[in-house]
């Protein structure tokens, strides 16, 4: 696979020559995943979870992802993966978003496996990565404990004497995951990530806005755990920044699916003797969706570059991509229902599945306000280094 490189001079000159696009191989991979998810009727699989006729995740889709090597694509070959990179995760994430695929890919592969790769001790990598790469084992992240933004101070889960104690809420794939990276404070009060098997914990599913991404509450009570390398608060923020880029790609995929649904319906449906797609009120609405989607995609591409090269601008690029994609998907999902009219508000139509997913993705890594503050702080920091 061609690598991503950047020969730009200082950002402000505007003189960079750029190739801000995925390679043909990466696009082909995206097409392949899109086809697989479309052939497996992924949206209907998501519906089964929303309707409660299935729990956890769609095992058939997951099996196909294993077969295609998607689960291991960004994991090094010595740990059983294919040794590709972040850009491949981007195109896979976009396809998952487009088809709202109910799989544990985001937390298990994009976040937990990435965290172990970046911050785990060698022994931990050898123990945990092969299972994640093959997709036979599933990991998740256990972060939130209370309503509102996550802060170091408000993490009450404690690690000490080799065990964890505390309670985590809204843990995605919490019922299906074999193990989790748990955010907890050690005896000295520092926050870190701890690896814990979930088999012996008390877990209960939580009803949620988007049941196609099921969440659970997990009680840790003297649960054996070990620190993930020496990962601290800043490292956790780095993992979150990286994940934000991939989340943005999921959102971009979802937002584009909404625009297509809206367009197709508006072309089919007639009112007052003509296609409703011929009314400016609807055309302009769809143009506005297109505008936000385009901005979001472009921001996501730049963040993909920052991600794949571990650029210094990653924190601001990731925040920009996530904020832009959150706004785009929120708007596209809501207006998709509006353009469908009453039909869009029925259980039977798929619009609400995307509407649910859009809001869930918007908070999965923390809410908009938190990312806006993060973005502006990052830009102020960049400014003061530029001046100094």
């Amino acid at each position: 696979m061609p690598r991503f490189c950047y020969y730009a001079r200082a950002e402000t000159t505007g003189n960079e020559h750029v190739n801000l696009d995925f390679s043909d191989e990466q696009k082909l991979l995206g097409d392949q995943v899109n086809k697989m998810l479309s052939d497996s009727d992924s949206v209907t699989a998501a519906r089964r979870l929303v309707e409660g006729s299935e729990t956890g995740y769609d095992t058939e889709i997951w099996r196909q992802m294993q077969e295609l090597g998607l689960t291991g694509c960004a994991i090094e070959t010595q740990y059983g993966g294919l040794g590709l990179g972040d850009l491949e995760l981007c195109v896979i994430s976009e396809a998952i978003g487009r088809h709202i695929a109910p799989t544990p890919f985001f937390f298990s592969i994009c976040m937990a496996a990435r965290a172990i790769q970046l911050f785990g001790a060698e022994e931990q990598k050898r123990t945990h990565l092969p299972g994640l790469a093959s997709g036979e084992r599933i990991a998740t992240m256990a972060i939130a404990e209370t309503p509102g933004a996550v802060s170091q101070k408000r993490i009450r889960t404690r690690f000490g004497g080799g065990v964890l104690n505390g309670r985590k809420i809204g843990v995605c794939d919490g019922m299906s995951a074999d193990f989790a990276l748990v955010m907890a404070q050690d005896e000295g009060g520092s926050v870190g990530l701890y690896l814990a098997e979930l088999g012996d914990t008390q877990r209960s599913p939580q009803k949620s806005l988007d049941p196609s991404r099921p969440v659970a509450c997990i009680e840790f009570s003297d649960t054996p755990a070990e620190p993930l390398g020496s990962a601290g608060w800043d490292d956790i923020q780095h993992i979150r920044d990286r994940a934000a880029v991939l989340c943005a790609f999921e959102q971009v995929g979802g937002a584009e699916a909404c625009l297509e649904m809206a367009r197709n319906y508006a072309l089919e449906r007639k009112a007052f003797g003509r296609q409703i797609a011929s009314y400016q009120a609807l055309k302009h609405r769809m143009a506005d969706i297109y505008i936000l989607n385009t901005l979001a995609r472009s921001n996501a591409y730049y963040a993909a570059w920052a991600l794949s090269t571990d650029a210094q601008v990653l924190p601001s690029a990731a925040a920009t991509a996530l904020l832009s994609a959150t706004e785009a998907f929120d708007f596209a999902a809501a207006e998709n229902i509006q353009i469908h009219g009453g039909m869009g508000f029925t259980w039977e139509f798929d619009c609400h599945l995307y509407y649910r997913r859009s809001r869930a993705l918007g908070v999965i890594l923390g809410g908009t306000g938190s990312w806006q503050r993060k973005l502006i702080s990052a830009l102020r920091a960049q400014n003061s280094t530029a001046v100094a």
Partner: protein, 406 residues
């Protein structure tokens, strides 16, 4: 994704840069503007001539017409390298970007040979005469009449919103030659001499107080048939060619952007003497503008990427003007608000030497025009909806009726 020049592109960039290094103008466009329109025009023409003589004018034009026969990618590289000096090319943009390609497509060979090189060198400035008082967004509804008289056409009527007409030597003019067919079918394009006595240019004073646009009146203007561009009745098709050539000319709104409002709110205190930039409401706005600015920048990069790979760019750039003009309006309004009453004061006063309000006041007064000129927000949304998303046109009651019966 990679961000490298190909070897050929890199060599071109080095060549462009070294020429610019040795030949760049002494003063920026902004400095030249201080001396008024005449001195700005003089500087612009001098810079254009210097570029032309060294083969750096109208890069994408064929060499025989004064261009360089360069690839789209080389044109972009030149644009990046020319950077701030490109603002001195403003007076030639409409001619070289729109009139030139239209002449190339439809003028007789003799006229191409005669008029294109001086257009490239900046000796002649051209303007585009399309809009009328009664035909703005619906420009095909125009009523300036051209009537055939032997080898000549006699033209009467009025155009409006003509940028640069006050200093233009020539123009391309869209007229109605047959009112008895539906409006799109009865139009014909000509090129005309703006110095003809039958042409009268009157500047329009804009809401902002500036005068960049004009009204242009034609009273029995006689034009030889050889100056016709395209067949009689083919004018609409010719006009679309002209407008399509604007595809690469991405319309970023000129004026204060994210960096300017960001610097302002970092400096300004609120009533509790905290920097405004720490206020949640301010942060929310800043973050949104940053996402827009960054999204437009990387959208442009994606277009360049497609060109660089020899592919046809997608329609992404159609969003640029809608987003940037609205952003300019919001940022300017917000800045004036943040400055309080001093945000409305144009003068410098003691303690306010480098008046921070000025660019925002100009942005505030300029933005409404930007949202209209070159396609209103609404027309541009129609274009996205119809050409990009493939949605049907609104029902048009006038489409099949002869113009004379409307």
């Amino acid at each position: 994704m990679d961000f490298n020049d190909t070897q050929q592109e890199a060599e071109f960039r080095v060549e462009a840069r070294s020429w610019l290094e040795g030949n760049k103008p002494e003063r920026s466009a902004a400095d030249e503007r201080i001396g008024g329109e005449e001195s700005y025009l003089r500087a612009a023409k001098a810079w254009q001539k210097r570029k032309y003589e060294a083969g750096w004018a109208c890069l994408h034009w064929p060499k025989e017409y004064g261009g360089r026969g360069a690839s789209p990618m080389e044109r972009i590289i030149w644009g990046q390298e020319e950077g701030k000096y490109a603002a001195l090319s403003g007076p030639f943009a409409i001619g070289q970007g729109m009139c030139g390609p239209t002449l190339m497509g439809y003028a007789i060979e003799e006229h191409k040979q005669k008029y294109l090189p001086p257009m490239a060198s900046g000796e002649h400035i051209w303007c585009q005469l399309f809009s009328e008082p009664g035909a703005g967004s619906d420009v095909a509804g125009l009523s300036t009449r051209a009537v055939k008289d032997g080898d000549e056409w006699v033209i009467n009527g009025q155009k409006i919103w003509t940028s640069g007409a006050q200093f233009s030597d020539y123009g391309i003019l869209l007229t109605r030659t047959d009112p008895d067919v539906p409006k799109h079918k009865g139009l014909t394009m000509f090129w005309i001499d703006m110095h003809d006595d039958a042409v009268e240019v009157r500047p329009i004073k804009q809401a902002s107080g500036a005068s960049g646009f004009n009204e242009v009146y034609f009273t029995d203007l006689r034009v030889h048939d050889s100056q016709r561009l395209g067949a009689p009745g083919q004018g609409w098709e010719v006009a679309l060619t002209t407008l399509m050539n604007e595809r690469l000319a991405v319309g970023d709104a000129p004026g204060p952007d994210f960096n300017e409002i960001f610097d302002l709110v970092c400096d300004l205190p609120d009533e509790n003497d905290n920097p405004l930039v720490e206020d949640g409401r301010v942060i929310e706005h800043l973050a949104r503008w940053y996402c827009q600015k960054s999204g437009l920048k990387y959208t442009k990069y994606r277009t360049i990427s497609a060109l660089s790979q020899g592919k046809t760019p997608g329609p992404e750039n159609s969003i640029t003007k809608i987003v940037s003009a609205a952003k300019l309006q919001q940022i300017s309004r917000f800045a004036i608000d943040a400055l309080g009453i001093s945000g409305t004061i144009r003068d410098e006063f003691e303690g306010n030497e480098d008046n921070p309000a000025l660019p925002f006041i100009d942005g505030f007064m300029g933005a409404p025009g930007l949202r209209i000129a070159g396609g209103t927000d609404e027309i541009l949304r129609n274009i996205i909806a119809e050409r990009v998303l493939g949605l049907p046109q609104e029902v048009r009651v006038d489409k099949d009726k002869p113009f004379s019966q409307l």
